[in-house]
Subunit: 112 residues, 2 copies
Amino acid sequence: MVQYSTELDQAFAAVSDPTRRGILERLGRGDASISDLAADFQMTLTGIKKHVQVLEGAGLVTTQKVGRVRTCRVGPRRLADEATWIGKYQEMLDARLNRLEAFLERTKGKPS
Amino acid sequence: MVQYSTELDQAFAAVSDPTRRGILERLGRGDASISDLAADFQMTLTGIKKHVQVLEGAGLVTTQKVGRVRTCRVGPRRLADEATWIGKYQEMLDARLNRLEAFLERTKGKPS
């Protein structure tokens, strides 16, 4: 398991906030401007911009400014490394629980 | 997709730190005391305790104090909801990219 990774840090931190997860889900249905998002989430433009910047920093949202409108699109990162990390964590946890179970079985079987 | 979830918030935030991911990986190899972890990660007891508290709050680590020694064990949470959320994000992203691609194909096919 890769322990140190700025990308993992940023991506996990980005999706640890319910509004940011909501923004990703909203953008999954279609591109949206900062104003659209502010209206949808009943937040100030400044508040939404901050969340979008965090998502953009993590590669989960791409923005493009045309004139005065900044449009947000989901992607390009697929959270593939994050999914892999969680999968490895689960394998490790299962292996650990199996070892503990085997140990308890052996201990139980011994005459006291 | 479930947008609001304190459990998702806490778990994603917990694994967004490289030391905390390292602690989980270390505990996957076997239980460890706070002092063991402090030695392994070359951190102060206070620093390690804070990280362990975050992991414990997210249900990723269980601790038990016997005498003066607090032993840490990985689990019980498997990050199952987090894996599901990422899976749904990936499906959504793929569907969005497919729709964009189809739109571009249609646009390209039209006479200008």
